[in-house]
């Protein structure tokens, strides 16, 4: 009854589940009515932070959201 470290198979399945999960998330985002365009969002053009910050960037001023 001694602890057992993850083996090669575990790392392989970690990779498979991780990649499948990312693809699932992107697919759900693509069909969701509240989804966003990944490429446009990467350019920062289709969304705003959930919190608006003051000029110094340390204090939240108001709740933001989707423009």
């Amino acid at each position: 009854m001694s602890p057992s470290a993850p083996d090669r198979q575990d790392w392989k399945w970690l990779l498979i589940i991780g990649v499948a999960g990312m693809l699932l998330g992107w697919a759900v985002n693509a069909v969701s009515p509240r989804g966003f365009s990944l490429l446009k969002a990467a350019q920062g053009s289709t969304w705003m932070p959930a919190t608006d910050w003051d000029d110094e960037g340390d204090t939240p001023t108001a709740k933001g959201g989707r423009p």
Binding site: M1, S2, P3, S4, A5, P6, D10, W11, W13, L14, I17, G18, A20, G21, M22, L23, L24, G25, W26, A27, V28, N29, S32, R34, G35, F36, L38, A41, A42, Q43, G44, W47, M48, P49, A50, T51, G57, D58, T59, P60, G64, G65, R66
Partner: protein, 175 residues
């Protein structure tokens, strides 16, 4: 000591609890991707071009890993994923606290998106409220500010998850 720590029923209970927790958290985030994107950007931790890919993809990983833990499918690999996610959350939360930032951590509060997404379905609202109460009863605060307390909560989730990662293998699994 190790016999008690790695007792199969204890490991099963940990997997069930953490699996259900991550499924609930993931579904909320999947229901409202744009809100989760905004929440992740609040941390100001990741480069902007990575943010949308990370915030859209991570809930899917949480969901699959949570399902794997609940249904005992590649349980160790799923526990490794959840542990890695928890470590990343601990790092992101810690840097936010150290920088003096103050906002909702968006860990579980998006669970409320279930009811929002399905509009006026009263049965779903009732279930969302029940789930929120049940999770609160288990020590999961749905809306919590970024703080050392939130960091500590993730450490408290990580410790039992590591037991599943390093659980002794069954004889059949070793062969």
């Amino acid at each position: 000591m190790t016999r008690w720590l790695f007792h199969p029923r204890l490991l099963r209970a940990i997997s069930l609890f953490m699996g259900l927790l991550f499924i609930a958290a993931a579904v909320g985030k999947l229901m409202d991707p744009v809100k989760f994107l905004g929440s992740v950007s609040d941390y100001r931790f990741l480069p902007q071009w990575i943010l949308p890919f990370y915030s859209a993809g991570i809930p899917g990983v949480e969901l699959l890993a949570g399902l794997g833990l609940v249904f005992k499918v590649k349980e160790r690999a799923c526990a490794m994923i959840i542990s890695a996610l928890l470590v990343s959350f601990i790092i992101a939360l810690s840097q936010a606290v150290l920088r003096g930032m103050d906002f909702d951590c968006s860990c579980f509060d998006l669970i409320g998106s279930w009811a929002v997404t399905f509009g006026q379905a009263p049965w779903l609202k009732a279930h969302a409220a029940w789930l929120a109460e049940a999770l609160t009863g288990l020590g999961v605060k749905l809306a919590s500010r970024v703080s050392w307390g939130t960091v500590l909560r993730d450490v408290y989730y990580l410790a039992p998850m590591l037991l599943v990662v390093f659980a002794p293998r069954a004889r059949a699994e070793q062969a």
